[in-house]
Symmetry: D2
Subunit: 136 residues, 4 copies
Amino acid sequence: MPTFRYNRTIHFSDTDAAGVVFFARYLSIAHEAYEEALGANGILLAEFFSDNGVVIPITRSEASYLRPLHAGEKICVDVTPVQSGPHSYTLDTTIWKIGPPEKKAAVIQTEHVCITSTDRKKIDLPSELTGWIDAD
Amino acid sequence: MPTFRYNRTIHFSDTDAAGVVFFARYLSIAHEAYEEALGANGILLAEFFSDNGVVIPITRSEASYLRPLHAGEKICVDVTPVQSGPHSYTLDTTIWKIGPPEKKAAVIQTEHVCITSTDRKKIDLPSELTGWIDAD
Amino acid sequence: MPTFRYNRTIHFSDTDAAGVVFFARYLSIAHEAYEEALGANGILLAEFFSDNGVVIPITRSEASYLRPLHAGEKICVDVTPVQSGPHSYTLDTTIWKIGPPEKKAAVIQTEHVCITSTDRKKIDLPSELTGWIDAD
Amino acid sequence: MPTFRYNRTIHFSDTDAAGVVFFARYLSIAHEAYEEALGANGILLAEFFSDNGVVIPITRSEASYLRPLHAGEKICVDVTPVQSGPHSYTLDTTIWKIGPPEKKAAVIQTEHVCITSTDRKKIDLPSELTGWIDAD
């Protein structure tokens, strides 16, 4: 259950007319962190999908939005994968507004299920992924 | 607890390289339905916020992604508000892929809390909103 | 050179912290109008691409942003295709803020070139597209 | 006319069902580079606007899309400001796919005009901005 930390700045395009990050963008940012974590483990999501006949859609998400974020603010995003079954894993993501003081801006959980791209049947997680999830 | 139905087509900009709607976009689409429901009840979210010194951030979301959606597909979105306290309400949103047969594509729940825009203290929901939520 | 009109409301997710539509979103909106115009002519962009081994990337865009647009405002978008060569066409798009009085919000031009999806060589426009572009 | 270089990875949320970055996202990416360039010069766009009663909308954009970009690819973005009048400046932006070999993916030009936020009259560029634009 290795935690990966991703750093990012809030962009104008993340915000809406209320002056802060649009709620759905927190999930996009969490997904960026996930992609970076995979990349840091030698897994390129794009190639991975096209090469293996598997897709790993997100089947569920939960998010608590704790604090507004503004354009220009620096955040860091911690993402931790946890295997939840032979075909699935959960990502626990926390978005922090960088301080001092550091403040928790959002907590997000997403569920990912591995299926075949053709008939969408559940299949075991590929070893590249379990390698990442089980690493210390 | 009036249900509002919003119709929409899936756009290319909703999709990602997996060929289907990016998961966070389901939440954006749910928010569009919410805005349209407010508008149909004479409430313009943009003006409402700037005129009243209140903001109604989303504090929590849950979503189940049940079915992939592709560019060009027609969807309808049912949104039902339920008051959950003096300062808050929940929106229950269902995204349907229009058929035949009609198929449930996602179920989304968001929690909205009414606060002052300056010191972010909880305040009672404005009457325009309770008027909408309580309507039959 | 048929002009297609697309109606739409500005959503919160189109805006940024300046309170108005983010400039790049005008181009997304223009693309939505293009997709709707194709759909109205029986062409589903998604299937079209996957069925034919052709892709029609946008190679160039120009946009004049004339007027800010706010969440909740109603717009209409006029899109007119003009064939610019055997392999390409231009879309002239005008975004109007619906009145009264109606006001021009943006003028956008995009260039589209038809190529094979494998080796990215220019090929003649498919008849479905020339049928749309040449229609009166 | 200082050139600022911004590094970034292409995210899934940048792409569309054609498998590559959606054309309008190139402009969003160019804007991110602009924001980072301002930030590196001590200018926080968000505060800058709210503190000064000025806004600097983009009035025009031109973009040539030269090469598709895929999720996971590394890019760098060079942005160079050029003052074009007492109230305006142009940003010349080039997006490179990092190599080897490095390849030009897009060339973008945007025009920015400084106006008052209330009556939208042209005003001289603030000294913070001319300080950035004139720096060597």
